[in-house]
Amino acid sequence: MSKPVAEPPDSGESRWPIRPLHLTLIGLLYLVFSLLWLLGGDRMLILWAGGATPPLLVEMLKDLLVVSAGGILLYLLLRVYGNVVRLRINQVQDLRLARIEEQARRTRDALENRVRERTAELLAINQTLEQQVAARTQVEIALSDSEERFRQLAEHIREVFWVYGIAEERLLYVSPAYEEIWGRPVQGFHERPLDWIEAVHADDRQRVHAAHVARQQLGSLDEEYRIVRPDGAIRWIRDRGFPVRDEAGYIYRIAGLAEDITAHRLAEDQLRRQQVELAQMARLRLAVELASNLAHELNQPLAAIVAYTQAGLALLRQDQADPRALTGALDAVVHQGLRAGEIIRHLRELVQKHPDARAALDLNTSLRAVVHYAQLELRQAHVVLNLELAGNLPPVLGDDIQIQLAALYLARNAIEAMQDAEEPRRLTIRTALQNSGMALVTLADTGHGFSADTADRLFQPFFSTKPGGMGLGLSVSRSIIESQGGELWATPNPDGGVSFHFILPIYGRRHE
């Protein structure tokens, strides 16, 4: 940091010619010359000759004094000069020193400034660092807090919380509720990552697998499926997933909740069953009421007929047979018989003369509604449904409710026909457009089919192969379809089971 201070280029010695050596030489020269002057000439010779006389000696002493005095003078002069020179040198040196000092001071100042600046910088950096550290600590605390909260939540909710890593291609986390719902250990995941899909009910597995493949792209998922627990119990699961994105917006994880909805499903089933039962009861009540009315209506003329006849018989037995009275009674009997017939005819008209509610309707939609109604029966009878609905089907002309009722009869008939059949039990509902301007609906089952002799009687009222069956379903279905301008027939399937077909007119094509 500190630069070495440069020596000034000129020194006092080089500027001043007289140096101590010079002074010594001057002194020696003076000494030689003064000795020469002192001892020079004839005086030396006299001395040498031994002629040292007192006056000569005195003179020589005097000269010696002069020389000494001159020496002293010279010495003093030189001394003064030396002092002056030293003074000068000192002055110069002082000056130079001052200059050096000044420079040194300036350098020091600069240095100090830089140090100060540097320190400030460092302080600032330090402060920033401290702030960062503080912030970081806070984040860490918050993080550990939220982690704790998350852990608490994940481990105590009844739903299974899961996190799937897209890059890792496996489940990264599964909450402990998994053990409760699936009945399988959570550790199983680490050893066998596909553990959970093995638990999915065989009938749902393919669908669920497809959904889980799709979720990789979509990042989301919403599926309901069944799982089979190790104890054989079946549970209904609703599994939902949501995408988790990184800062760049890429989905890198999927977080989800799998919920046990078995109770909910059971309640739904219960509700639907109750609805079906209620509907059946309502139908039954209606039928009972109708039958009661009919009985009352018919019993009036029957009572009259019996009474007339018995009165006639009584008169004949009493031998009071007035032919006129008997004729009147018999006439009345005929009348009442006709009246009874009229009542029945009227009833038939009442049944047939349904207000015409025919309109353009989408057959596929109606059939989907039918499938919805039959859902419970399908599930309970373990029947797999195939819907093969034609996409280009134009609307047909018909009464929606009537057609749904006929289709529902046929679907139930198919389900019942498969009750004792081996699995897989399959009901296929198909729609197609025919060239004749009719739409064709086919319900094919894999049931026990029918024999040649029952084929003729299949649609007769009160014919049933089912124990306890009224044998009205098929005949009613046929009358409904025929009242809608269509036809209903049955064919055996090549690989067992029966197909029921009905056709209905396309709307606007052959409007009757």
């Binding site: 019993n299 009036q300 009259a304 007929i305 009474a307 018995q310 009165a311 009275a325």
Partner: protein
Amino acid sequence: MNESPTVFLVDDDPAVRDAVGLLLRAGGLTVEGFANAAEFLATDAVRRPGCLVLDVRMPEMSGLDLQKKLRNDGCPMPIIFMTGHGDVPMAIRAMKAGALDFIEKPFSGERLLTRVYEALAIDARDRCRQAQREAAATRLSRLSPREREVLDRVADGQYNKTIAAELDISISTVEIHRRRAMEKLEATSIADLIRTLALANDQAAR
């Protein structure tokens, strides 16, 4: 009083009314037909001897409603119900309210005739009892207050002496009252007297 009994037939169906009427007449009965309850109530039929053959289901006032009204009015006429299509609760209701039978149409003429004869017999017996009760009450009303006081005590089995002491009259006076009262009631014995009193009490309780 000596009127022959009539079968009152109420049914809104004219054919049934006609046929059943013919059947009953062939059985030697007098029949009057009505198309509804109001028509029947509009006549004095209620007070005449006979029985009611009633259809359950009729417009406005049903057979069961008519039965209830007659019972509330204190008319004891026996009722046989006919119905085109009846249910058990309806039959129970009718029988509990005192109906003689509940017959479903169509029915055998024999059953109806049997029931109608039965009903007429019940009505006749009821009417006979009613007549006796009324006669007893009439005879009882002829007594003077004193005679009634004496008679009540005689019926209680008190001796003449006791009665005389209680009413503060002489024994011979008691005997006179007693004889007169027996004459007025046309009673020949104490048993006769007590029966008349009971009938009259029945009548008063109605």
